[in-house]
Protein backbone atom coordinates (compact mmCIF):
# COMPACT_ATOMS: atom_id res chain seq x y z
CA UNK A 1 0.00 0.00 0.00
CA UNK A 2 1.40 3.39 -0.97
CA UNK A 3 1.95 5.84 1.81
CA UNK A 4 -1.26 7.84 2.15
CA UNK A 5 0.60 10.79 3.53
CA UNK A 6 2.44 11.14 0.24
CA UNK A 7 -0.71 11.47 -1.84
CA UNK A 8 -1.45 14.79 -3.44
CA UNK A 9 -3.47 17.26 -1.35
CA UNK A 10 -6.73 18.09 -3.11
CA UNK A 11 -8.65 20.02 -0.48
CA UNK A 12 -7.32 22.10 2.36
CA UNK A 13 -9.02 24.05 5.13
CA UNK A 14 -7.03 26.91 6.64
CA UNK A 15 -8.18 28.50 9.88
CA UNK A 16 -11.73 27.90 8.76
CA UNK A 17 -14.34 29.48 11.01
CA UNK A 18 -18.11 29.58 10.81
CA UNK A 19 -20.83 31.49 12.61
CA UNK A 20 -24.59 31.45 12.87
CA UNK A 21 -25.21 35.07 13.77
CA UNK A 22 -23.15 35.49 16.95
CA UNK A 23 -22.82 31.80 17.57
CA UNK A 24 -19.33 30.56 16.76
CA UNK A 25 -19.93 27.03 15.48
CA UNK A 26 -16.59 26.21 13.81
CA UNK A 27 -13.46 27.57 15.44
CA UNK A 28 -10.43 27.65 13.24
CA UNK A 29 -10.02 24.30 11.54
CA UNK A 30 -6.81 23.63 9.62
CA UNK A 31 -6.51 20.31 7.87
CA UNK A 32 -5.71 18.86 4.47
CA UNK A 33 -7.36 16.08 2.52
CA UNK A 34 -5.46 13.89 0.13
CA UNK A 35 -6.63 12.81 -3.26
CA UNK A 36 -8.46 9.49 -3.48
CA UNK A 37 -8.87 8.99 0.23
CA UNK A 38 -11.82 8.60 2.54
CA UNK A 39 -11.80 11.04 5.44
CA UNK A 40 -14.07 10.54 8.40
CA UNK A 41 -15.22 13.24 10.78
CA UNK A 42 -16.41 12.07 14.17
CA UNK A 43 -17.50 13.89 17.26
CA UNK A 44 -20.40 14.43 19.63
CA UNK A 45 -23.74 15.69 18.35
CA UNK A 46 -23.91 19.46 17.89
CA UNK A 47 -20.14 19.92 17.76
CA UNK A 48 -20.21 21.54 14.33
CA UNK A 49 -19.45 18.65 11.98
CA UNK A 50 -22.27 19.43 9.59
CA UNK A 51 -21.53 23.14 9.73
CA UNK A 52 -17.89 22.51 8.94
CA UNK A 53 -18.75 20.21 6.06
CA UNK A 54 -21.18 22.79 4.70
CA UNK A 55 -18.39 25.36 4.66
CA UNK A 56 -16.33 23.16 2.36
CA UNK A 57 -18.76 23.63 -0.56
CA UNK A 58 -19.97 27.10 0.44
CA UNK A 59 -23.50 25.96 1.27
CA UNK A 60 -23.19 27.32 4.80
CA UNK A 61 -23.49 30.88 3.51
CA UNK A 62 -26.96 30.12 2.17
CA UNK A 63 -28.34 30.30 5.69
CA UNK A 64 -29.48 33.74 6.74
CA UNK A 65 -27.05 35.33 9.18
CA UNK A 66 -24.41 32.66 8.60
CA UNK A 67 -20.85 33.60 7.71
CA UNK A 68 -17.39 32.15 7.48
CA UNK A 69 -13.76 33.21 7.73
CA UNK A 70 -10.52 31.55 6.73
CA UNK A 71 -9.74 29.69 3.56
CA UNK A 72 -10.62 26.49 1.79
CA UNK A 73 -8.21 25.56 -0.96
CA UNK A 74 -9.40 23.30 -3.73
CA UNK A 75 -6.33 22.21 -5.68
CA UNK A 76 -4.53 25.19 -4.25
CA UNK A 77 -7.19 27.79 -5.07
CA UNK A 78 -9.19 29.45 -2.33
CA UNK A 79 -12.86 28.76 -2.99
CA UNK A 80 -13.80 31.78 -0.89
CA UNK A 81 -11.83 34.08 -3.17
CA UNK A 82 -14.04 36.83 -4.61
CA UNK A 83 -13.02 35.93 -8.14
CA UNK A 84 -14.11 32.33 -7.78
CA UNK A 85 -17.50 31.29 -9.14
CA UNK A 86 -19.39 29.56 -6.35
CA UNK A 87 -21.34 27.49 -8.90
CA UNK A 88 -18.10 26.07 -10.18
CA UNK A 89 -16.98 25.22 -6.64
CA UNK A 90 -20.16 23.32 -5.92
CA UNK A 91 -19.97 21.49 -9.19
CA UNK A 92 -16.61 20.10 -8.15
CA UNK A 93 -17.48 19.47 -4.51
CA UNK A 94 -20.68 17.46 -4.29
CA UNK A 95 -22.72 16.94 -1.17
CA UNK A 96 -25.08 14.46 0.41
CA UNK A 97 -26.96 16.21 3.20
CA UNK A 98 -27.68 14.89 6.66
CA UNK A 99 -31.43 15.00 6.01
CA UNK A 100 -32.57 13.38 2.78
CA UNK A 101 -33.83 16.14 0.49
CA UNK A 102 -35.11 14.75 -2.81
CA UNK A 103 -36.72 17.34 -5.06
CA UNK A 104 -40.47 17.35 -4.50
CA UNK A 105 -42.82 16.70 -7.41
CA UNK A 106 -40.00 15.16 -9.38
CA UNK A 107 -39.79 11.53 -10.38
CA UNK A 108 -37.04 9.25 -9.13
CA UNK A 109 -35.42 9.37 -12.54
CA UNK A 110 -35.63 13.16 -12.77
CA UNK A 111 -34.18 13.50 -9.32
CA UNK A 112 -31.08 11.62 -10.37
CA UNK A 113 -30.53 13.25 -13.75
CA UNK A 114 -31.73 16.80 -13.06
CA UNK A 115 -28.18 18.01 -12.42
CA UNK A 116 -26.99 16.72 -15.77
CA UNK A 117 -30.08 17.88 -17.57
CA UNK A 118 -29.76 21.40 -16.26
CA UNK A 119 -26.14 21.35 -17.33
CA UNK A 120 -27.45 20.91 -20.84
CA UNK A 121 -27.26 17.15 -21.37
CA UNK A 122 -30.55 16.16 -22.94
CA UNK A 123 -29.86 12.90 -24.73
CA UNK A 124 -32.28 10.47 -23.21
CA UNK A 125 -30.13 7.40 -23.55
CA UNK A 126 -27.22 9.11 -21.80
CA UNK A 127 -29.46 10.25 -18.97
CA UNK A 128 -31.04 6.83 -18.54
CA UNK A 129 -27.66 5.17 -18.56
CA UNK A 130 -26.26 7.56 -15.97
CA UNK A 131 -29.35 7.10 -13.82
CA UNK A 132 -28.96 3.34 -13.83
CA UNK A 133 -25.25 3.46 -13.08
CA UNK A 134 -25.69 5.93 -10.22
CA UNK A 135 -28.72 4.18 -8.74
CA UNK A 136 -26.81 0.92 -8.84
CA UNK A 137 -23.85 2.51 -7.09
CA UNK A 138 -26.20 3.90 -4.44
CA UNK A 139 -27.66 0.40 -3.95
CA UNK A 140 -31.12 1.57 -4.91
CA UNK A 141 -31.54 0.32 -8.47
CA UNK A 142 -33.22 -2.98 -7.70
CA UNK A 143 -35.80 -1.32 -5.51
CA UNK A 144 -36.77 1.41 -7.96
CA UNK A 145 -36.06 0.06 -11.43
CA UNK A 146 -39.73 -0.68 -12.01
CA UNK A 147 -40.98 2.68 -10.78
CA UNK A 148 -38.53 5.24 -12.06
CA UNK A 149 -41.40 7.58 -12.80
CA UNK A 150 -42.88 7.61 -9.32
CA UNK A 151 -42.18 10.51 -7.05
CA UNK A 152 -38.83 10.69 -5.33
CA UNK A 153 -40.60 11.76 -2.17
CA UNK A 154 -42.71 8.60 -2.21
CA UNK A 155 -39.68 6.56 -1.18
CA UNK A 156 -38.84 5.63 2.40
CA UNK A 157 -36.37 7.75 4.36
CA UNK A 158 -33.46 5.41 3.76
CA UNK A 159 -34.34 5.05 0.09
CA UNK A 160 -34.53 8.83 -0.22
CA UNK A 161 -31.07 9.10 1.25
CA UNK A 162 -29.73 6.66 -1.33
CA UNK A 163 -31.56 8.60 -4.03
CA UNK A 164 -29.73 11.71 -2.87
CA UNK A 165 -26.45 9.82 -3.05
CA UNK A 166 -27.24 8.80 -6.62
CA UNK A 167 -28.14 12.39 -7.44
CA UNK A 168 -24.84 13.65 -6.10
CA UNK A 169 -22.89 10.98 -8.00
CA UNK A 170 -24.61 11.81 -11.27
CA UNK A 171 -22.82 15.13 -11.65
CA UNK A 172 -19.51 13.43 -11.04
CA UNK A 173 -17.79 15.71 -8.53
CA UNK A 174 -14.13 14.92 -7.75
CA UNK A 175 -14.76 15.64 -4.07
CA UNK A 176 -17.84 14.28 -2.32
CA UNK A 177 -19.02 15.47 1.09
CA UNK A 178 -21.32 13.05 2.87
CA UNK A 179 -23.10 13.98 6.06
CA UNK A 180 -24.12 10.81 7.88
CA UNK A 181 -25.21 9.13 4.66
CA UNK A 182 -25.94 5.81 6.33
CA UNK A 183 -27.56 6.87 9.59
CA UNK A 184 -31.02 5.94 8.28
CA UNK A 185 -29.98 2.76 6.51
CA UNK A 186 -30.17 -0.89 7.43
CA UNK A 187 -26.95 -2.92 7.70
CA UNK A 188 -27.24 -4.28 4.16
CA UNK A 189 -27.69 -0.89 2.51
CA UNK A 190 -25.00 0.52 4.78
CA UNK A 191 -22.60 -2.17 3.65
CA UNK A 192 -23.42 -1.33 0.06
CA UNK A 193 -22.78 2.37 0.58
CA UNK A 194 -19.49 1.56 2.24
CA UNK A 195 -18.64 -0.65 -0.70
CA UNK A 196 -19.54 2.27 -2.94
CA UNK A 197 -17.19 4.57 -1.07
CA UNK A 198 -14.38 2.09 -1.44
CA UNK A 199 -15.22 1.97 -5.11
CA UNK A 200 -15.36 5.70 -5.79
CA UNK A 201 -12.25 6.23 -3.75
CA UNK A 202 -10.34 4.99 -6.80
CA UNK A 203 -11.18 8.28 -8.48
CA UNK A 204 -12.66 10.58 -5.90
CA UNK A 205 -12.04 12.05 -2.51
CA UNK A 206 -14.71 11.49 0.12
CA UNK A 207 -15.23 13.38 3.36
CA UNK A 208 -17.82 11.69 5.51
CA UNK A 209 -19.39 12.62 8.83
CA UNK A 210 -20.42 9.60 10.82
CA UNK A 211 -21.52 8.67 14.31
CA UNK A 212 -20.60 5.09 13.67
CA UNK A 213 -17.09 4.46 15.02
CA UNK A 214 -16.84 1.03 13.42
CA UNK A 215 -17.76 2.55 10.11
CA UNK A 216 -15.14 5.27 10.44
CA UNK A 217 -12.52 2.73 11.43
CA UNK A 218 -13.56 0.35 8.67
CA UNK A 219 -13.69 2.61 5.67
CA UNK A 220 -11.70 5.75 6.30
CA UNK A 221 -8.06 6.48 5.65
CA UNK A 222 -8.01 9.55 7.85
CA UNK A 223 -10.16 10.58 10.77
CA UNK A 224 -10.74 13.94 12.43
CA UNK A 225 -12.23 14.25 15.88
CA UNK A 226 -14.30 17.38 16.56
CA UNK A 227 -15.48 18.79 19.86
CA UNK A 228 -17.36 22.09 20.23
CA UNK A 229 -16.20 23.52 16.94
CA UNK A 230 -12.58 22.54 17.47
CA UNK A 231 -10.64 19.79 15.81
CA UNK A 232 -9.02 17.89 18.64
CA UNK A 233 -7.14 15.42 16.55
CA UNK A 234 -6.61 14.47 12.94
CA UNK A 235 -4.59 11.62 11.59
CA UNK A 236 -4.51 8.23 9.96
CA UNK A 237 -7.57 6.31 11.06
CA UNK A 238 -5.37 3.37 11.94
CA UNK A 239 -3.62 5.57 14.49
CA UNK A 240 -6.64 7.43 15.77
CA UNK A 241 -8.57 4.28 16.53
CA UNK A 242 -5.77 2.22 17.96
CA UNK A 243 -3.45 4.76 19.45
CA UNK A 244 -5.00 8.23 19.81
CA UNK A 245 -2.71 11.01 20.95
CA UNK A 246 -5.34 12.94 22.87
CA UNK A 247 -7.07 11.73 25.98
CA UNK A 248 -10.38 13.24 24.79
CA UNK A 249 -10.23 11.25 21.56
CA UNK A 250 -9.53 8.06 23.40
CA UNK A 251 -12.44 8.68 25.78
CA UNK A 252 -14.77 9.41 22.90
CA UNK A 253 -13.98 6.41 20.75
CA UNK A 254 -14.10 4.11 23.70
CA UNK A 255 -17.49 5.50 24.67
CA UNK A 256 -16.46 7.28 27.86
CA UNK A 257 -17.14 10.72 26.50
CA UNK A 258 -20.62 12.11 26.18
Amino acid sequence: MPNLNDAKVILEAKKLEAWFGDFHAVKGITVDYREKTINAIIGPSGCGKSTYLRCLNRIHEEIEGARTAGEVLLEGKNIYDKKVDVVDVRRRIGMVFQKPNPFPSMSILDNVVIGLRLQGISKRSTLLETAEVCLRKAALWDEVKDKLNSLGTSLSGGQQQRLCIARALAVNPPVLLMDEPTSALDPIATAKIEELMNEIKKEYTVIIVTHNMQQAARISDFTSFFVYGNMIEHGLSADIFTNPKEKQTEDYISGRFG
Partner: protein, 282 residues
Amino acid sequence: MNYRIYRKFKNFMFLVLTLVSALAVLIPLFMIIQFVLVQGASSLSLDFFTQLPKPVGEVGGGMKHAILGTIYIVLLGAAIAIPIGVTCGIYLSEFSKSKLSKTLKMTVDLMSGIPSIVIGIFAYLVVVVPLKSFSAFAGAIALSIIMLPIIIKTSEEILKLVPNHIREAGLALGLPRWKVILFIILKGSVSNLLTGMILAISRAAGETAPLLFTAFGNMYLSYNMNEPMASLPVQIYTYAISPYKDWQRQAWAGAFVLMVLILTMNLFARFILTKIKDKKGI
Protein backbone atom coordinates in the same frame (compact mmCIF):
# COMPACT_ATOMS: atom_id res chain seq x y z
CA MET B 1 -72.43 15.74 39.14
CA ASN B 2 -73.90 19.21 38.70
CA TYR B 3 -70.60 20.37 37.39
CA ARG B 4 -70.63 17.72 34.71
CA ILE B 5 -74.04 18.77 33.49
CA TYR B 6 -72.92 22.37 33.45
CA ARG B 7 -69.84 21.47 31.46
CA LYS B 8 -71.90 19.48 28.97
CA PHE B 9 -74.27 22.39 28.66
CA LYS B 10 -71.40 24.75 27.91
CA ASN B 11 -70.11 22.36 25.31
CA PHE B 12 -73.52 22.15 23.73
CA MET B 13 -73.96 25.93 23.66
CA PHE B 14 -70.61 26.32 21.99
CA LEU B 15 -71.57 23.80 19.34
CA VAL B 16 -74.83 25.65 18.71
CA LEU B 17 -72.98 28.93 18.42
CA THR B 18 -70.55 27.62 15.81
CA LEU B 19 -73.38 25.99 13.88
CA VAL B 20 -75.38 29.21 13.81
CA SER B 21 -72.43 31.21 12.51
CA ALA B 22 -71.76 28.59 9.87
CA LEU B 23 -75.37 28.78 8.74
CA ALA B 24 -75.29 32.56 8.79
CA VAL B 25 -72.50 32.42 6.26
CA LEU B 26 -74.16 29.80 4.10
CA ILE B 27 -77.62 31.37 3.91
CA PRO B 28 -76.73 34.49 1.91
CA LEU B 29 -74.52 32.40 -0.34
CA PHE B 30 -77.33 30.00 -1.13
CA MET B 31 -79.77 32.83 -1.58
CA ILE B 32 -77.52 34.46 -4.16
CA ILE B 33 -77.05 31.23 -6.02
CA GLN B 34 -80.76 30.46 -5.91
CA PHE B 35 -81.75 33.96 -7.05
CA VAL B 36 -79.35 34.01 -9.94
CA LEU B 37 -80.19 30.46 -10.87
CA VAL B 38 -83.95 30.90 -10.88
CA GLN B 39 -84.05 34.33 -12.43
CA GLY B 40 -81.10 33.86 -14.72
CA ALA B 41 -81.71 30.39 -16.04
CA SER B 42 -85.33 31.14 -16.80
CA SER B 43 -84.29 34.16 -18.86
CA LEU B 44 -81.67 32.21 -20.70
CA SER B 45 -82.02 31.10 -24.29
CA LEU B 46 -79.76 30.11 -27.12
CA ASP B 47 -80.22 33.60 -28.53
CA PHE B 48 -78.54 35.01 -25.48
CA PHE B 49 -75.27 33.40 -26.54
CA THR B 50 -75.53 33.86 -30.29
CA GLN B 51 -77.19 37.23 -30.77
CA LEU B 52 -76.12 40.80 -30.36
CA PRO B 53 -78.34 43.28 -28.49
CA LYS B 54 -81.47 44.49 -30.26
CA PRO B 55 -82.25 48.22 -30.35
CA VAL B 56 -84.25 49.54 -27.41
CA GLY B 57 -87.88 48.58 -27.72
CA GLU B 58 -87.34 45.38 -29.64
CA VAL B 59 -87.61 42.25 -27.55
CA GLY B 60 -84.89 39.55 -27.75
CA GLY B 61 -81.25 39.72 -28.68
CA GLY B 62 -78.33 38.48 -26.61
CA MET B 63 -74.97 39.22 -25.11
CA LYS B 64 -72.64 37.31 -27.38
CA HIS B 65 -70.42 40.37 -27.70
CA ALA B 66 -70.19 40.84 -23.92
CA ILE B 67 -69.41 37.19 -23.23
CA LEU B 68 -66.61 37.15 -25.77
CA GLY B 69 -65.53 40.61 -24.66
CA THR B 70 -65.17 39.53 -21.05
CA ILE B 71 -63.12 36.48 -22.02
CA TYR B 72 -60.94 38.62 -24.28
CA ILE B 73 -60.31 41.41 -21.76
CA VAL B 74 -59.72 39.03 -18.85
CA LEU B 75 -57.28 36.88 -20.82
CA LEU B 76 -55.44 39.97 -22.01
CA GLY B 77 -55.28 41.23 -18.43
CA ALA B 78 -54.02 37.85 -17.22
CA ALA B 79 -51.41 37.79 -19.96
CA ILE B 80 -50.08 41.06 -18.58
CA ALA B 81 -50.44 40.26 -14.88
CA ILE B 82 -49.22 36.65 -14.70
CA PRO B 83 -45.65 37.06 -15.97
CA ILE B 84 -45.10 40.22 -13.96
CA GLY B 85 -46.83 38.85 -10.89
CA VAL B 86 -45.03 35.51 -10.78
CA THR B 87 -41.67 37.19 -11.37
CA CYS B 88 -42.37 39.62 -8.56
CA GLY B 89 -43.41 36.72 -6.33
CA ILE B 90 -40.12 34.98 -7.12
CA TYR B 91 -38.23 38.11 -6.24
CA LEU B 92 -40.04 38.50 -2.92
CA SER B 93 -39.62 34.89 -1.92
CA GLU B 94 -36.08 34.21 -3.17
CA PHE B 95 -34.43 37.56 -2.57
CA SER B 96 -36.38 38.67 0.44
CA LYS B 97 -33.35 40.13 2.20
CA SER B 98 -33.06 43.17 -0.07
CA LYS B 99 -34.45 46.58 0.85
CA LEU B 100 -36.37 46.79 -2.42
CA SER B 101 -38.13 43.61 -1.44
CA LYS B 102 -39.49 45.13 1.77
CA THR B 103 -40.77 48.19 -0.08
CA LEU B 104 -42.30 45.99 -2.74
CA LYS B 105 -44.04 43.89 -0.12
CA MET B 106 -45.64 46.96 1.43
CA THR B 107 -46.69 48.25 -1.97
CA VAL B 108 -48.34 44.98 -2.82
CA ASP B 109 -50.25 44.98 0.46
CA LEU B 110 -51.43 48.51 -0.19
CA MET B 111 -52.31 47.65 -3.75
CA SER B 112 -54.63 44.84 -2.77
CA GLY B 113 -56.53 47.33 -0.63
CA ILE B 114 -57.19 49.88 -3.37
CA PRO B 115 -60.89 50.01 -4.27
CA SER B 116 -61.44 48.74 -7.78
CA ILE B 117 -63.13 51.97 -8.83
CA VAL B 118 -59.94 53.85 -8.02
CA ILE B 119 -58.02 51.43 -10.20
CA GLY B 120 -60.56 52.15 -12.94
CA ILE B 121 -60.01 55.89 -12.66
CA PHE B 122 -56.27 55.34 -12.61
CA ALA B 123 -56.37 53.29 -15.81
CA TYR B 124 -58.64 55.93 -17.29
CA LEU B 125 -56.11 58.66 -16.59
CA VAL B 126 -53.07 56.68 -17.61
CA VAL B 127 -54.35 54.80 -20.65
CA VAL B 128 -57.69 56.16 -21.85
CA VAL B 129 -56.86 59.86 -21.68
CA PRO B 130 -53.50 59.72 -23.47
CA LEU B 131 -54.85 57.35 -26.14
CA LYS B 132 -58.00 59.50 -26.42
CA SER B 133 -60.28 56.49 -26.52
CA PHE B 134 -61.91 53.91 -24.32
CA SER B 135 -60.38 50.61 -25.19
CA ALA B 136 -60.27 46.92 -24.37
CA PHE B 137 -56.57 47.43 -23.76
CA ALA B 138 -57.27 49.98 -21.02
CA GLY B 139 -59.74 47.53 -19.49
CA ALA B 140 -57.14 44.77 -19.54
CA ILE B 141 -54.64 47.08 -17.83
CA ALA B 142 -57.17 47.88 -15.10
CA LEU B 143 -57.96 44.20 -14.56
CA SER B 144 -54.28 43.28 -14.54
CA ILE B 145 -53.74 45.80 -11.72
CA ILE B 146 -56.48 44.03 -9.79
CA MET B 147 -54.93 40.63 -10.47
CA LEU B 148 -51.36 41.64 -9.72
CA PRO B 149 -51.36 41.78 -5.91
CA ILE B 150 -53.22 38.48 -5.70
CA ILE B 151 -50.78 36.75 -8.05
CA ILE B 152 -47.74 38.28 -6.36
CA LYS B 153 -48.89 37.36 -2.87
CA THR B 154 -49.90 33.80 -3.72
CA SER B 155 -46.73 33.16 -5.74
CA GLU B 156 -44.57 34.50 -2.95
CA GLU B 157 -46.29 32.44 -0.31
CA ILE B 158 -46.30 29.29 -2.40
CA LEU B 159 -42.59 29.59 -3.17
CA LYS B 160 -41.86 30.25 0.49
CA LEU B 161 -43.55 26.95 1.30
CA VAL B 162 -40.70 25.18 -0.46
CA PRO B 163 -38.26 24.37 2.33
CA ASN B 164 -34.75 25.82 2.15
CA HIS B 165 -33.06 22.45 2.14
CA ILE B 166 -34.51 21.91 -1.34
CA ARG B 167 -32.80 25.06 -2.58
CA GLU B 168 -29.59 23.92 -0.91
CA ALA B 169 -29.86 20.55 -2.61
CA GLY B 170 -30.12 22.27 -5.99
CA LEU B 171 -27.26 24.66 -5.31
CA ALA B 172 -25.09 21.83 -4.04
CA LEU B 173 -25.42 20.15 -7.43
CA GLY B 174 -23.53 23.09 -8.84
CA LEU B 175 -26.54 24.68 -10.47
CA PRO B 176 -26.81 28.46 -10.81
CA ARG B 177 -29.43 30.01 -8.58
CA TRP B 178 -31.73 31.01 -11.42
CA LYS B 179 -31.87 27.43 -12.67
CA VAL B 180 -32.63 26.16 -9.20
CA ILE B 181 -35.45 28.67 -8.85
CA LEU B 182 -36.89 28.13 -12.30
CA PHE B 183 -36.49 24.41 -12.85
CA ILE B 184 -36.68 23.04 -9.33
CA ILE B 185 -38.53 25.41 -7.02
CA LEU B 186 -40.96 26.89 -9.53
CA LYS B 187 -41.53 23.67 -11.41
CA GLY B 188 -42.37 21.88 -8.22
CA SER B 189 -44.99 24.49 -7.40
CA VAL B 190 -46.70 24.78 -10.79
CA SER B 191 -50.02 23.41 -9.63
CA ASN B 192 -50.14 25.69 -6.61
CA LEU B 193 -49.15 28.68 -8.71
CA LEU B 194 -51.97 27.94 -11.14
CA THR B 195 -54.42 28.02 -8.29
CA GLY B 196 -53.26 31.51 -7.38
CA MET B 197 -53.65 32.66 -10.95
CA ILE B 198 -57.16 31.31 -11.19
CA LEU B 199 -58.05 33.03 -7.95
CA ALA B 200 -56.86 36.30 -9.43
CA ILE B 201 -58.62 35.76 -12.73
CA SER B 202 -61.92 34.84 -11.08
CA ARG B 203 -61.70 37.93 -8.96
CA ALA B 204 -61.00 40.18 -11.93
CA ALA B 205 -63.59 38.61 -14.21
CA GLY B 206 -66.44 39.88 -12.09
CA GLU B 207 -65.21 43.46 -11.73
CA THR B 208 -67.46 46.16 -13.13
CA ALA B 209 -66.12 49.47 -11.88
CA PRO B 210 -62.69 49.38 -13.51
CA LEU B 211 -64.21 48.49 -16.86
CA LEU B 212 -66.78 51.28 -16.79
CA PHE B 213 -63.95 53.79 -17.11
CA THR B 214 -61.79 51.85 -19.51
CA ALA B 215 -63.29 49.26 -21.83
CA PHE B 216 -66.56 51.13 -21.44
CA GLY B 217 -68.71 48.79 -23.48
CA ASN B 218 -70.55 48.83 -26.77
CA MET B 219 -73.44 47.09 -28.44
CA TYR B 220 -71.64 45.22 -31.18
CA LEU B 221 -69.02 42.56 -31.56
CA SER B 222 -65.44 43.82 -31.61
CA TYR B 223 -62.06 42.20 -31.30
CA ASN B 224 -60.12 45.41 -31.60
CA MET B 225 -57.90 46.07 -28.65
CA ASN B 226 -57.97 49.81 -29.28
CA GLU B 227 -61.75 50.16 -29.31
CA PRO B 228 -64.31 50.07 -26.56
CA MET B 229 -65.37 46.52 -25.86
CA ALA B 230 -68.38 45.09 -24.11
CA SER B 231 -67.96 42.93 -21.03
CA LEU B 232 -70.45 40.93 -19.03
CA PRO B 233 -70.25 42.91 -15.78
CA VAL B 234 -70.70 46.27 -17.51
CA GLN B 235 -73.45 44.88 -19.73
CA ILE B 236 -75.22 43.45 -16.71
CA TYR B 237 -74.88 46.76 -14.92
CA THR B 238 -76.23 48.74 -17.88
CA TYR B 239 -79.14 46.40 -18.42
CA ALA B 240 -80.02 45.97 -14.77
CA ILE B 241 -80.44 49.69 -14.12
CA SER B 242 -82.38 50.22 -17.36
CA PRO B 243 -86.17 50.66 -17.16
CA TYR B 244 -86.88 47.95 -19.72
CA LYS B 245 -88.26 44.64 -18.46
CA ASP B 246 -86.61 42.69 -21.24
CA TRP B 247 -83.18 44.15 -20.47
CA GLN B 248 -83.56 43.45 -16.78
CA ARG B 249 -84.40 39.88 -17.68
CA GLN B 250 -81.26 39.70 -19.77
CA ALA B 251 -79.22 41.16 -16.92
CA TRP B 252 -80.21 38.16 -14.82
CA ALA B 253 -79.24 35.84 -17.61
CA GLY B 254 -75.91 37.68 -17.84
CA ALA B 255 -75.31 37.28 -14.13
CA PHE B 256 -76.02 33.59 -14.45
CA VAL B 257 -73.62 33.19 -17.36
CA LEU B 258 -70.90 35.17 -15.58
CA MET B 259 -71.19 32.94 -12.54
CA VAL B 260 -71.12 29.80 -14.62
CA LEU B 261 -68.17 31.13 -16.59
CA ILE B 262 -66.11 31.73 -13.48
CA LEU B 263 -67.15 28.38 -12.07
CA THR B 264 -66.20 26.58 -15.28
CA MET B 265 -62.85 28.29 -15.26
CA ASN B 266 -62.25 26.97 -11.78
CA LEU B 267 -63.31 23.48 -12.72
CA PHE B 268 -61.26 23.54 -15.90
CA ALA B 269 -58.19 24.57 -13.93
CA ARG B 270 -58.78 21.79 -11.48
CA PHE B 271 -59.10 19.39 -14.36
CA ILE B 272 -55.75 20.48 -15.76
CA LEU B 273 -54.28 20.20 -12.31
CA THR B 274 -55.36 16.61 -11.90
CA LYS B 275 -53.95 15.90 -15.37
CA ILE B 276 -50.59 17.34 -14.33
CA LYS B 277 -50.80 15.46 -11.08
CA ASP B 278 -51.48 12.18 -12.82
CA LYS B 279 -48.57 12.66 -15.12
CA LYS B 280 -46.04 14.22 -12.83
CA GLY B 281 -47.47 13.35 -9.47
CA ILE B 282 -47.29 16.84 -8.07
